[in-house]
Amino acid sequence: MERKDILEKFKNAIVDLDLDEALDSTKEALNNGVAPYEIMDAMRSASNLVGQKFESCEYFISELIIAGTIMKSASDLLKPHISGDKPRYRGKVIIGSAPGDMHDIGKNLVVVSLMGAGFEVVDLGIDVPADKFVQAVKDETPNIMGISALTSTTMMRIGEVIEALKSSSIRDKIKVILGGAPLTDEFAKKVGADACAKDVINGIKICEGWLSESS
């Protein structure tokens, strides 16, 4: 089978949520000398197609989770092969739940979906204090920071994270995107964030848009 056919098979396996086929074709691609970054490119376009199916209501949260699991498993197979070569990420995102917010199902889905879309992601976890976000920006030098909140109470603490970025003079170094059930564009604007994602796929698109602007 030709390389492009193997990659096509790999891509279709992710979109069709076929774990075994995705892993088999990853191995097959590697055995045929396909470069890991080419496989990652195919994963990105698969991730894009999964997103389109979510937008057209063919896929739901359950399918995003499964696609994420498959892409993560395929990435694990690729890792040993890219150790000498620096992976070509599209950008770096740090992400965490707002101070006081202990929910992480949505955030975790964003993490795996961003990874599938070719981003390097640093997950700071739940109930992340403002100073931890600030420190992570300094240590990790990301392009984007994601803050998640599920309740109308905890969303009110997103502002303190953005204020902390401002007082550390690093707000301008990154884009800030918010996500979570009660959040709105108006709220994002009010607290000084750059955007509010209405769902996982919308959030990824916004991040991709920022990176293509900056490149």
Partner: protein, 404 residues
């Protein structure tokens, strides 16, 4: 406020013609009663303890010792999720419903306590107190198990016959029934889907459904068995007194369903149906389903399963506008909820809340089949004057025939 005890007869106020129970039954039968029923903490619409205490202060009501728990930072924990509401508040707001549930007969002791103060609770969930609430904590108790025997024999599965008691439930139910209120029997845990993932982990459970269906089926069956046991124990005692039996199974995220419809129909719907059929054999009560988020895609299936009332109908979610829902399903299901709890209740003024109540009544109350309630848990920062504005507006503007 005058002191009242639970079970004291309901007051029929000027302009009203029915007891709360009669009003609710008319509504459930899609007829217009004397006014639109109102719900708070009587079925499965909750109030966080912080806002509840603020409300008590505001209404000059004392806080009882039994309402205070020992978690730091005002985090609340009750083995029965909803805060027990003071009978005087129920009456002040003219709440038509009263809850009843199986009892946990001894002081709450975690089944297992970890060094980070997280613990396995009485339902077998791993929980940890945060600043405002208890959240499910990682790792989920069954997350790392790989074989069915290990999962099914996990020692932390709830065992209602061993851990719970229905002693005295019949007397309590009779008192509430004779008081003229609509009694809602609820289980102190969620339905088959949410309990399964709350024990297994959300992603892991969805992966089970796709890649290890035998494990998904075993977990779902175990939860179903626990729920059937729990409802059976309760309804054998109080089935004759119930107007509603409440089941909580969240199927929606904010913008869409959590699982696709094929999965829902294969894994969840048959178990819902089995539980609801079992409940129907024990009582003439209607089935009240609490299912958060955008659940529009499941509503036809809910109706086929035998769901009579859907709560909380979150207006901020796409597809969950009351007017559209009423048009599509209004003759087959009653809606309970609809008042914006993500935006208007926490951030609006009392005038905004009043406008919101008028909006939901206009959208859904004509012809019955609608109960006013918050579109989700009343959050800690909701000011008490907004809670009062909500229920005062139902009293003022909810009179049939609706003239808004």
């Amino acid at each position: 406020m005058e002191s009242v005890s639970r079970g004291q007869k309901a007051t029929i106020y000027p302009g009203e013609r029915y007891t709360p129970r009669e009003r609710v039954w008319k509504t459930l039968e899609h007829q217009e009663a004397d006014r639109v029923p109102a719900e708070l903490g009587g079925c499965l619409s909750f109030m966080m303890k912080q806002s509840y205490f603020n409300l008590k202060h505001y209404l000059h009501l004392p806080i009882f010792f039994k309402e205070i728990d020992y978690w730091p930072g005002g985090t609340h924990y009750t083995s029965f999720w909803t805060t027990p509401i003071d009978e005087r508040i129920y009456r002040r707001f003219r709440i038509d419903f009263r809850p009843i549930s199986i009892r946990f007969p001894r002081p709450f002791i975690p089944q297992k306590l970890f060094s980070d103060n997280s613990f396995i609770d009485e339902c077998g969930f791993h929980r940890k107190a945060g600043e405002t609430y208890l959240e499910f904590a990682n790792p989920y108790p069954l997350e790392r198990m790989e074989n069915i025997d290990e999962i099914i024999n996990d020692p932390y599965w709830p065992d209602p016959e061993k851990d719970r008691s229905v002693e005295g439930l019949d007397k309590k139910a009779k008192r509430i029934d004779e008081g003229g209120y609509a009694l809602c029997c609820v289980a102190p845990m969620g339905g088959v889907f949410e309990t399964s993932w709350q024990r297994r982990g959300f992603s892991k459970f969805v992966e089970d459904i796709y890649f290890r269906p035998n494990i998904a089926n075993a977990i779902l069956d175990k939860v179903k068995e626990v729920l059937i046991k729990m409802y059976g124990m309760m309804l054998d005692q109080i089935g004759d007194y119930c107007t509603l039996v409440g089941v909580a199974d969240d199927m929606g995220a904010q913008t869409s369903g959590l699982v696709n419809l094929d999965i829902y129909r294969k894994f969840i719907k048959p178990r819902h149906k089995e539980i609801f059929d079992f409940i129907h054999k024990k009582t003439a009560a209607k089935i009240y389903l609490h299912s958060c988020g955008n659940v529009d895609m499941y509503i036809n299936d809910f109706i086929e399963e035998g769901v009579d009332v859907l709560n909380p109908v979150q207006p901020e979610c796409p597809d969950m506008g009351l007017e559209e829902l009423k048009d599509k399903y209004g003759d087959k299901i009653t809606f309970c909820g609809g008042v914006s709890s993500q935006r208007v209740l926490p951030r609006g003024t009392p005038a905004d809340v009043k406008a919101e109540v008028i909006r939901v009544i206009k959208a859904a109350a004509n012809g019955g089949g609608f109960i006013v309630a918050p579109g989700h848990i009343i959050q800690p920062e909701v000011p008490p004057w907004n809670v009062c504005a909500l229920y005062d507006s139902v009293i003022k503007h909810g009179q049939y025939p609706i003239k808004l």
